[in-house]
């Protein structure tokens, strides 16, 4: 072998070893590393109030990302989650004071789940590409939110409702607890039910799953309905945190949710990943944003960090052998 080729092959092997090592320590180690670095950079980072604050901040995108994990595990994508969150937000705000919580909750959650169901039917039964179907829904649902509000935000007077998004239970922010419950239920569904097992199978090889007797279309439909329902739940947290229903709520959140899933180690090619990973991915993005804030990094520059993080994470994932 000529010396050039030798060096090239050696450095290639070097990179391969590095990435393999990175994978072995995994997403959790990456988070720990980030937390240590953050603690060194700012004395205010590793304090109970700040950490709880991070938890509350990530909970909305965390809930979206949890639903998104189901979708991406089947090798799909859901671009409509931000808009469905918006629809749920304006429905909560529009009905909370006039009709009470008992009507408002099922209305907002149900509408978001129904829209997810429509996504699922379009994708699984009508055979539309997930990208297109949910892109259409992104625009359609946002339009509905604007029409419903006439473009003006709807304030909520009910003070008890404010507690859900801003209160604490046993010292933990309630939104973080909601996220935790969503994660546990999702983890249970994915890990311990035939449905969850089939979700992985569909993402790994849809044709093989179908031939093995998995009701592929039904399960894919359910997966998008779950993502819709989670968008509604995230909308609930959002509405409660702000006590106002604005039709632009959740704009661009779909990309944050996808980023959290991907950084958490779930493969965009389906069949590989977990909601635990998604939780860690959500935290990594949340901690990064937090430390950049604490150290006073320009918000415009923060976007560079977030963008780079996503690309690097996917690069490492794609080298997985």
């Amino acid at each position: 072998m000529p010396p050039d080729a030798l060096t090239a092959s050696r450095s290639r092997r070097h990179i391969a070893t590095l990435t393999r090592g990175w994978q072995r320590v995994g997403v959790l180690a990456a988070l720990v590393l980030l937390v240590i670095m953050a603690s060194l950079l700012s004395p205010r980072f590793f304090t109970v109030p700040n950490l709880l604050n991070v938890l509350r901040q990530v909970s909305i995108v965390g809930v979206l990302a949890t639903g998104m994990t189901f979708v991406i595990l089947t090798r799909g994508i859901d671009l409509s989650v931000g808009s469905l969150l918006g629809v749920a937000v304006v429905l909560f705000a529009g009905s909370m004071d006039s009709r009470g919580t008992a009507v408002a909750l099922p209305l907002g959650l149900g509408a978001a789940a129904l829209a997810g169901l429509v996504n699922g039917i379009g994708i699984a039964y009508a055979g539309l590409p997930a990208f297109i179907m949910t892109l259409g829904m992104l625009s359609f649902a946002r339009g509905l939110a604007f029409i419903y509000t006439g473009g003006t935000p709807i304030p909520i007077l009910n003070e008890d409702f404010y507690v859900l998004g801003n209160g604490y239970l046993l010292g933990v922010p309630i939104p973080a607890l909601v996220l935790l419950v969503a994660l546990i239920v999702s983890g249970f569904l994915l890990g311990l039910t035939p449905f969850g097992r089939s979700v992985y199978a569909i993402g790994s090889n849809e044709e093989a799953a179908r031939l093995s007797g998995v009701p592929v279309r039904l399960y894919k439909t359910i997966v998008y309905a779950i993502s819709g329902l989670m968008s509604g739940l995230a909308g609930l947290l959002y509405t409660s945190q702000l006590s106002i229903g604005t039709p632009i709520a959740g704009q661009g959140y779909e990309l944050d949710a996808i980023a959290a899933v991907v950084v958490g180690g779930t493969s965009l090619f389906g069949g590989k990943g977990s909601v635990a990973g998604t939780f860690l991915g959500t935290l990594i993005i949340g901690v990064l944003a937090n430390i950049l804030n604490l150290t006073g990094v320009d918000p415009f520059v923060q976007q560079l960090f977030k963008g780079a993080l996503i690309v690097v994470a996917v690069f490492i994932m794609s080298r997985r052998t």
Binding site: P194, S198, A208, A209, S212, G271
Partner: protein, 503 residues
């Protein structure tokens, strides 16, 4: 019967001498000679895997031979790419047509080398004139302006041929051109081939169908196991000679199973799926292996797919253990006790990045669920038993299945089928891409299952397999049952005759 190639014959257009080719130590072609003369249709025949495609790929510049040489018009040529082959005057028309469906016929013909005007725009008028002239030359009526996707398969093939002759080649290679055509279209194609022959082209014609070879070819070369088994002028030979040449030897018949067959498990009557197969009837009894033989494209897998509910028969019936059934999905088939191990492991079988455990149980998760919750311990026990019973060699049931060898992957997929708890097992090419040791183990496994009363429908292209395992062999030819042979009657000769010759 093997004429020594006359090296000085000026009529020889294309000559391959001593061509050999191996893939990862596997000899595919060895010392193959071929001589195609001016105005000659030269057929190449052989069983599946005899080396036909490799030879064509060498002529087309796709593969490079390890040994030997190819010369065109007496000039030795190194064909390192399809472009080299084109320059040398060889054009190959592959079985899968490679046309752009949205472009018109004429655009397809001149794709990548459109005639241009002085302004550099496409000269549509010149293109139209030349396309029309080519279709005239072929004596076919095709509107050059029609998008190719709207043409019939036969017409698309003509566009492909027009495209091929537009570069004025000296040798035209047709790889199984008749596989997609019905009888009438075959006649049209042969008319075209004869025209081209009379215009002085050398034509290499690959076909599975021996009567076609006898009809159209002037000369035939038979490949067997990568070697030339014979070469002759068609006028001097007959079907028996061809079949004898192709198979070389008859495998010894194996001793029949000692077990008694039970009642009819799977009975298929007059089953028809339009465009795939017609009026297929067969019965598999408990404890019996029925082989489904035939050439590639004869409709064997299609029959299996219809039985497990992957296609909708337009006629005929399926009866399981005496009860007529309608099966609409693989899921429904599994519930009725039919398990199907597909032919294409990678595309239709493996969940590549999932553990062996999940691959084995995906077919019947219900079995391990109580109140909707999976019992991971029950699943683990089942998989341990499967791995042991099937002798799957792996580091642990948690490893991703794609890391296993082909043979072990196949065993896991058979395990997946068995997880259904089937009484009828359909195996489609169960030993494809599997090493010899694993092959024998899979054979023993099938024999064991049958001795326990399983009904097995075995689809196979491997002659040895189809002669060794089945108690009866049903031979399909072009979507119809060409013969049903008892074990004693089933020899390579009788099967090949039924599969490759018109009744």
């Amino acid at each position: 019967m093997r004429p020594t190639p006359d090296d000085d014959d000026p009529n020889v257009l294309l000559r391959a001498k001593g061509v050999g080719k191996s893939f990862v130590g596997n000899m595919v072609l060895s010392n193959v000679d071929l001589a195609v003369r001016v105005g000659e249709v030269h057929a190449i025949v052989g069983e599946n895997g005899a080396g036909k495609s490799t030879l064509i790929k060498i002529l087309g510049g796709v593969h490079q031979p390890d040994a030997g040489e190819v010369s065109v018009g007496g000039v030795p040529r190194r064909l390192r790419s399809p472009r080299d082959a084109l320059v040398a005057g060889i054009v190959v028309i592959h079985q899968e047509l490679s046309l752009a469906p949205d472009l018109s016929a004429e655009e397809n013909i001149f794709l990548g080398r459109f005639p241009c005007t002085v302004l550099g725009t496409v000269d549509r008028r010149a293109m139209r004139t030349r396309a029309a002239a080519l279709f005239d030359q072929l004596a076919v009526a095709i509107d050059p302006d029609r998008p190719v996707g709207t043409l019939s398969i036969a017409q698309q093939q003509m566009v492909e041929i027009a495209k091929a002759i537009s570069v004025e080649p000296r040798v035209l290679v047709l790889d199984e051109p008749t596989a997609v055509l019905d009888e009438q279209r075959v006649a049209t194609l042969f008319g075209t081939v004869q025209r081209l022959r009379s215009q002085g082209l050398g034509i290499v014609f690959i076909s599975h169908h021996l009567e076609e070879v006898l009809r159209i070819a002037d000369r035939v070369t038979v490949l067997r196991d990568g070697r030339v088994a014979g070469s002759a002028r068609v006028a001097e030979i007959d079907q028996d000679w061809l079949v004898g040449c192709m198979i070389g030897r008859d495998f010894p018949a194996h001793s029949p199973h000692l077990c008694r067959f039970g009642r009819s498990a799977l009975q298929v009557d007059g089953l028809t799926v339009p465009g795939e197969f017609t009026d297929v009837s067969l019965t598999v009894r408990e404890g019996e292996i029925v082989g489904l033989a035939g050439l590639v494209g004869a409709g064997r897998s299609e029959v299996a797919r219809a039985v497990v509910g992957l296609s909708r028969p337009s006629a005929g019936s399926i009866t399981l253990f005496g009860k007529p059934v309608t099966i609409r999905s693989p899921n429904a088939a599994a519930r009725l006790g039919i398990a199907y191990v597909t032919e294409d492991r990678k595309a239709q079988g493996l969940l590549p990045n999932r553990p062996v455990r999940e691959n084995a149980t995906i077919s019947n998760l219900r079995r391990f669920a109580k109140a909707g919750i999976l019992s991971l311990s029950a699943e683990a026990k089942h998989v341990r038993d499967l791995v042991k019973g099937l002798d799957v060699r792996l580091a642990g049931p948690g490893v991703e299945i794609r890391t296993l060898s082909g043979g072990n992957q196949q065993k896991v997929l058979i395990g997946r089928a068995l997880t259904v708890g089937p009484r009828i097992l359909i195996l489609d090419e169960p030993t494809r891409g599997v090493d010899i040791g694993a092959k024998q183990e899979i054979y023993r496994l099938i024999e064991r299952l049958v001795s326990e009363g399983m009904a097995v429908l075995l689809i196979s292209s491997e002659m040895e397999e189809i002669l060794r395992l089945p108690d009866r062999v049903v031979v399909l030819r072009r979507g119809r049952v060409a013969a049903t042979l008892a074990r004693a009657e089933a020899t390579e000769r009788t099967i090949m005759k039924a599969a490759a010759l018109a009744a």
